[in-house]
Symmetry: C2
Subunit: 447 residues, 2 copies
Amino acid sequence: MKKIDTLLECRWIAPVQPRAAVLADHAIAIDGGRIVALLPLEQARLEFAPQARVTLPHHLVTPGFVNAHTHAAMTLLRGVGDDLPLGRWLNERIWPLEAALVSDQFVYDGTRLAALEMLRAGTTCCSDMYFYPEESARALRDVGMRAVVGIIAIEFPTAYATDAEDYLRKGLGARDMFRDDALVTFTLAPHAPYTVADSTLARIVTLAEELDLPLHMHVHETAHEVTESLTQHGVRPLARLDRLGLVSERLIAVHAVHLDDTEIALLAQRGASVAHCPSSNLKLASGVARVADLMSQGVNVVLGTDGAASNNRLDLLAEGRLAALLAKGVSGDAAAAPAAAILEAATLGAARALGLAQRIGSIEAGKDADLVAFDLSEIETQPCFDPLSHLIYACGREQVSEVWVAGVHVVRKRQVVDASGASISAAVMAPLPAWQNRARQFLNVPA
Amino acid sequence: MKKIDTLLECRWIAPVQPRAAVLADHAIAIDGGRIVALLPLEQARLEFAPQARVTLPHHLVTPGFVNAHTHAAMTLLRGVGDDLPLGRWLNERIWPLEAALVSDQFVYDGTRLAALEMLRAGTTCCSDMYFYPEESARALRDVGMRAVVGIIAIEFPTAYATDAEDYLRKGLGARDMFRDDALVTFTLAPHAPYTVADSTLARIVTLAEELDLPLHMHVHETAHEVTESLTQHGVRPLARLDRLGLVSERLIAVHAVHLDDTEIALLAQRGASVAHCPSSNLKLASGVARVADLMSQGVNVVLGTDGAASNNRLDLLAEGRLAALLAKGVSGDAAAAPAAAILEAATLGAARALGLAQRIGSIEAGKDADLVAFDLSEIETQPCFDPLSHLIYACGREQVSEVWVAGVHVVRKRQVVDASGASISAAVMAPLPAWQNRARQFLNVPA
């Protein structure tokens, strides 16, 4: 019998690779943070002597979800400007509050809160874009989550940095700080076509190639962005990005709501990814991305929650359900974006986009053990004919019972725990009242 | 001090009437199943001597949700035909399975399951449309839920009834059975324009007036339905219904996805209601109802989950969030369908549509105590600037902590309980494996 750290005995496993597979009564053997075998339960019991054995008799186990786009720290501004038109939301709420509040501590405290919410919703890795990326990385790692952190670039000054050069220098410094943490990787994150100059984008393309980093950027979020670009640059934003060399398999085009057929073909041809954020796009009235068309053209569609100021949940399963429903409703094809495609978008597709497909995104021997167990035994998921379609159409985040990141059991019975097994919720929530009061005072909102 | 049954001491209350109000640190006094007072906490403690005092220090209390359209028993077919085009979904899955399985026992067992799911999601009342309505009423009442049951009419025979006349006779008989239960009321529920003949509809209009009942009917769900009616009747379905006298304030037009401006104006002018079922409409690729337009024209828009075969959740809060997001994304106005309007649609609006506005739908003295407490203290709802927008945009059904129906405390700490306080989940789930096996055998699907 081989000694291993952990054996998960699962009623069902959706390994993602091969797509749409569901294995009944299988086990996952974990050792040294990695998956060492995926095999029938009876066989696993004969073959392995685990230190910890976890019985998941009513559960579906999937790869950990990968949230391809968020601004994690903005959980501190959750619900601060709901039901406002986009202009008022930005000008009266988000931008003034960010100018007043954002600091290293804000990013650390807000990102820890976000990380707990994401872990409890089955997300084991997120691609973040915000100021003070070193604080975002530190917060995500502190609570046991895998981090992909954006080296943000934007032309205008903030408390964090003075100009694009300063943003890049600081972001690259953050990358150096985490070079020894295998669970932290980086993207280059030019904010958007309308906030980053050509010269900065050219520099970023060079850096991306030198350092082998993905490009994480808001692209074609609103119709306004497209028309403004036509006025200022004479071309649509994606054409400008393409001229500058950004449209490649490195690109994660976030939102990509307003695309014409030529642009979808371009993204497909170049092997770019689209990070679809359906809740945010609807809530800010940006529109609906053409997901059925993107998928049918072979574009790698992945999923993001966006920040909690425009969603207001960091719940990738909710985004997956919404993506599946919207793709059907808007395309008129009830077979569009089926459950297996959505699960792949939330896992292996995002891992591919982030350059992590060799390590995460599917349940295969050799990959890191980033795993989620969904309890399908409750009223809400009974009866169960197909655990995979149940995951997307019937489950909520409340069905997430257990989560592992690189083999570490970080969520136990819905509680995010530390190494001793104690819940860390209270510690993560402790700084919140002070931030809430500062935001309220600034907005002159009564408690 | 006045003796009362129960005092709820609430951090926040959203009484719905007046719209958008949120009361902080207020109490709800309940006696004999009714709300007897809504007043500041300190005052309530001086004024009332309750038998039971419930402390809700981190909670938002709202009126119980009213699910305006469901086929409750279809929970037994949850997820049985996902990701299929509408035609295959109906012809290969739903209709054959219904023909093979539906019986009085199927309706009772399926509706009890649905009722537990709805109660745990804050729904205290549902408007059901299915075969064997007496079994649906019995099941809903057995687990403590308020019931509005459709007297279904359809021209073709089923195990339940032979022809429209037989459906109506049996449905009216069901109504007689429950005449002494104040928590059961009825609608007349002609299935759809394409399944009910003019003569039957004329009979139903007469019955509705004689018995003072609402009309609960699928209307303009698909584009196909509209074109077929043009072919067969020379007019669109709504025009045909109007000619027959069905378009009045009694009408709850379910789905109403495909409406032109004239039809929206007609519904507004007649005071009809629309039961919007956004998940189902998207999932079956029917389209998106024009909710922002309906609301701005003054149509009473209410919310429904539809059945679990096309959703697959009986979760009115999820429908509310989706309705709010879709209305914004499709209309291009981020201020469309604000949180307060959605809460009203899920409560008082539906009560109005069902003729129950004098008894439920808002938290006011004299109304029945149908109430839900949402716990806003968890990670997912922190920080909290506005409990009402949090309810719609951040909460999930997992935040539902306590539920009362007519003053009876039916959900305690997320468990549906009997009079002794014991959970009834196991009893409700006991018949499920047998139904699941029968469905699997019929479909020739392996376990």
